[in-house]
């Protein structure tokens, strides 16, 4: 049994190397004129509002999950639309002389960015396609906590801006994996109250490491 399983693993491993190589001679060198490519997204964002997030969540990096679609043109231009989501529960706190004190009252933050990016893909290699882009987003933000009235909770949406750069690794004719770094700036949500005001932090954006699985050529 163990020998069979080992053999199976080796076969899969071999196939994973062989498949990209075999595709090089087909579609990689020849992207379609226009291609609509859906994708799934997982990212980890290191928020610019470090002190705020550290006080409430005890950390500054939070995961986002989402998906979207990309319209890619043969000339290298592309347009992405991404919808992602982040939800985390921390605790209400206060801050004195740079020190944070948690109060144990649960607080939940939900952020749902809808982002549109335009950019350029560099076909430098059949298996590796670097790209850069910039865009605009609409960021929905919701903050609720125990023992709060509706007035004290917050639900709002603001516009933000972003730039991104990374590369797509072609895993096969119809499958790609992207890794990029995205910088986002989202003013207007933080800084008017709460810990963010205390910490003088007014940007809900940050630097995200994003990974996407793209389906399509």
């Amino acid at each position: 049994m163990m020998r069979n399983a080992g053999t199976l693993l080796l076969v899969f491993a071999a196939l994973s190397f062989v498949a990209p190589a075999s595709a090089q001679t087909t579609s990689y060198d020849d992207p379609p004129a226009i291609s609509l490519r859906p994708f799934f997204l997982a990212s980890g964002q290191n928020f610019t509002a470090k002190e705020t997030f550290k006080a409430v969540f005890g950390r500054t990096v939070e995961p986002f999950w989402g998906g979207g679609a990309q319209l890619a043109f043969r000339n290298g231009l592309f347009v992405d639309v991404t919808v992602s989501h982040f939800k985390a529960t921390g605790e209400r706190a206060f801050r004195v002389d740079g020190q944070n004190f948690g109060l144990g009252i649960p607080l939940t933050v939900t952020e749902t960015p809808v982002e549109a990016i335009g950019g350029y893909r560099f076909y430098v290699s059949p298996r590796l396609v670097p790209y850069v882009g910039a865009g605009i987003g609409s960021y929905s933000y919701e903050e609720t906590s125990d023992f709060s009235t509706d007035d004290e909770n917050l639900k709002t949406r603001h516009t933000g801006y972003l730039v991104t750069g990374g590369a797509e690794f072609r895993l096969g004719r119809w499958l790609g994996l992207t890794a990029d770094v995205q910088y986002t700036r989202v003013p207007g949500i933080l800084g008017d109250g709460g810990i963010s005001k205390e910490a003088d932090e007014n940007d809900l954006g940050g630097v995200a490491a994003r990974f996407r699985v793209i389906v399509g050529r």
């Binding site: 209400r92 706190a93 004195v96 004190f101 903050e143 004290e152 917050l154 933080l190």
Partner: protein, 554 residues
């Protein structure tokens, strides 16, 4: 026939054993007052009773103060100065030998001698002739390089203005600091927290007291007859006492472990901190599940008449503070104080300042105790500097508390005063103002609201305790087993509001005294000039805001 004497002998032996056990249970070091604990009938709770004898500035109130002064003078044979005669508090620098200390003392006074260092003190008490000027001796001592500080034993007093009870609208003061919402957040209301009440004692125990009441002269020279040896019933306040409620009681006026309240002030203050609540009886307290540590550091008229060996001076208070900190108090409520010079901030080692108390406060904060101090009631009497409250302003982790009155209630947009934002109109008329004021809390006032403007709690029924205010022919022994709800005003009443909220905050996990202070100040409702001001400090303490803290963006 032969067994009868044997039975008598056995019974006599048992009786003797019981008597010796009872005597061993007595905690009084001074035989002029004998307290047999856990003996006595339950208290009599008279509810709210009209009692017009406790309005501020009535003849009775003035008499009470004057009588206390007269008794002190009779006891000491000296005038009732600002300090106790016959002793000086001295802190020598580390490493000074006994010989060195004695040499230092000899330069200051020919009669100076070093007493045995008292418990819970990092200073020495130097005895001098009672006729000597203690301030002059202290000045000479503190000029020496081997002396860290020296000061007379200044007298402290409670910041209390009692008044008469009323049934209606008893506790406007608790909603004012948004307590109902705070209780939603903090259901335990400080159950794991100990609040020390440094005051006139607390009615925390049932006991039978035996004391000798001597003849005395009142402030008008009228002689009151000696009552001789009397037995006095004492009961725990029904709305304070519950199993496990009181921890580490200590009496620095009598040097015992039974700090019984013969005045009523400490019991009233304790009620505001932690009156039993949600039991369909009486009034509510702020942090109604806290443990209370009664520490008696202020004497009363009855303590004087019973012959207490100590009075509420700086050294006694300093020891009480250290005791509370050493025995685990997370909050120390000091509804007490005294006035003094206004230059202690720059140098506390001068006449009138309280370096011994300051050192004790710093020690307590260092041990993790949050210290809350009354801001003083002398605004209309020249608004002098409150020396102990002023210390609080210099120590992160200790706060001084001013009083607001009922005009702070129910204004639109939060708990704002009547009047304009720039000139708020809820400063309690008696509450001192000054650079040391850090927070405000409800202290009440009869002006504009009459008896509806007081702070109400259960305490000893003064009609049964203040028999010294009766005519000499009617003078009788007091009883301390009758309780009712008394309306009182003063920064003494404001202070326990802050202590209670602090206890709830500590229960919430904020244990550093400086952080507790910062939270209370940060989340106070700003009154008066924006930011801190000399009237309201950072503003009116707000329990809900403090416990709830801040979110990310709200």
């Amino acid at each position: 026939m032969r067994t009868y004497p044997a039975r008598v002998a056995v019974l006599a032996f048992i009786a003797a054993l019981t008597a010796s056990w009872i005597v061993r249970g007595q905690t009084a070091a001074n035989q002029s007052l004998v307290v047999i604990e856990n003996l006595g009938l339950p208290a009599i709770d008279e509810g709210v009773v009209e009692d017009d004898s406790h309005a501020p500035n009535t003849a009775e109130a003035i008499r009470r103060r004057a009588l206390g002064a007269a008794l002190a003078a009779q006891r000491t044979g000296q005038g009732t100065g600002r300090y106790a005669p016959g002793r000086v508090i001295v802190k020598f620098r580390d490493g000074i030998s006994t010989t060195g200390r004695l040499t230092a003392l000899s330069t200051a006074s020919r009669t100076a001698s070093l007493r045995t260092r008292p418990s819970y003190a990092d200073f020495d008490i130097v005895s001098i002739d009672p006729g000597e000027d203690a301030e002059a001796v202290a000045r000479t001592l503190r000029a020496r390089p081997d002396v860290e500080y020296a000061q007379p034993a200044y007298r402290m007093h409670t910041q209390f203005k009692p008044n008469d009870p009323l049934y209606t609208q008893l506790q406007w003061n608790l909603p004012l600091i948004d307590l109902e919402s705070a209780w939603d957040i903090q259901m335990q209301a400080g159950s794991a927290v100990t609040v020390a009440i440094l005051d006139t004692g607390v009615a925390y125990d049932n006991a039978m007291i035996t004391a000798t009441i001597p003849a005395f002269f009142d402030e008008n020279g009228r002689q009151y007859p000696a009552l001789g040896r009397v037995t006095i019933p004492y009961s725990a306040a029904p709305q304070l006492a519950s199993p496990g409620r009181f921890v580490a009681p200590h009496d620095f006026i009598w040097d015992t472990t039974t700090p019984l309240d013969f005045d009523g002030h400490g019991t009233h203050v304790s009620g505001t901190v932690g009156q039993l609540t949600n039991d369909n009886i009486g009034t509510a307290g702020v942090a109604f599940n806290v443990k209370l540590m009664p520490v008696k550091v202020i004497g009363s008229v009855w303590d004087d008449l019973f012959g207490a060996p100590n009075e509420g001076t700086d050294d006694v208070v300093a020891r009480g503070i250290r005791y509370a900190a050493d025995n685990g108090a997370q909050v120390i409520n000091m509804s007490i104080g005294r006035t003094g010079p206004d230059n202690c901030t720059t140098n506390s080692n001068v006449d009138g300042c309280a370096p011994a108390v300051e050192a004790a406060i710093r020690y307590a904060v260092g041990k993790g105790s949050f210290v809350v101090i009354a801001g003083g009631n002398d605004f209309e009497f020249g608004n002098p500097t409150e020396v102990v409250a002023e210390i609080a302003a210099r120590v992160p982790g200790a706060v001084s508390v001013a009083a607001v009155d009922r005009r702070a209630v129910g204004q639109t947009g939060g708990h704002r005063c009547q009047g304009t934002a720039a000139q708020p109109d809820c400063h309690a008329y008696y509450s001192n103002t000054g650079s040391w004021v850090e927070l405000s809390a409800p202290g009440g006032s009869e002006r504009g609201f009459g008896r509806d403007g007081f702070v109400w709690q259960q305490t000893l029924d003064f009609r049964f305790t203040e028999t010294f205010l009766l005519e000499p022919s009617q003078f009788r022994a007091p009883r301390f087993d009758v309780f009712n709800y008394i309306g009182a005003i003063g920064t003494s009443m404001a202070t326990p509001h802050v202590s209670g909220v602090a206890a709830m905050l500590i229960q919430q996990g904020i244990t550093k005294p400086a952080a507790v202070e910062a939270a209370l100040a940060k989340f106070a409702v700003d009154l008066g000039a924006p930011g801190r001001d000399n009237t309201f400090g950072f503003g009116l303490v707000d329990a809900r805001n403090a416990l709830r803290g801040l979110g990310v963006a709200r």
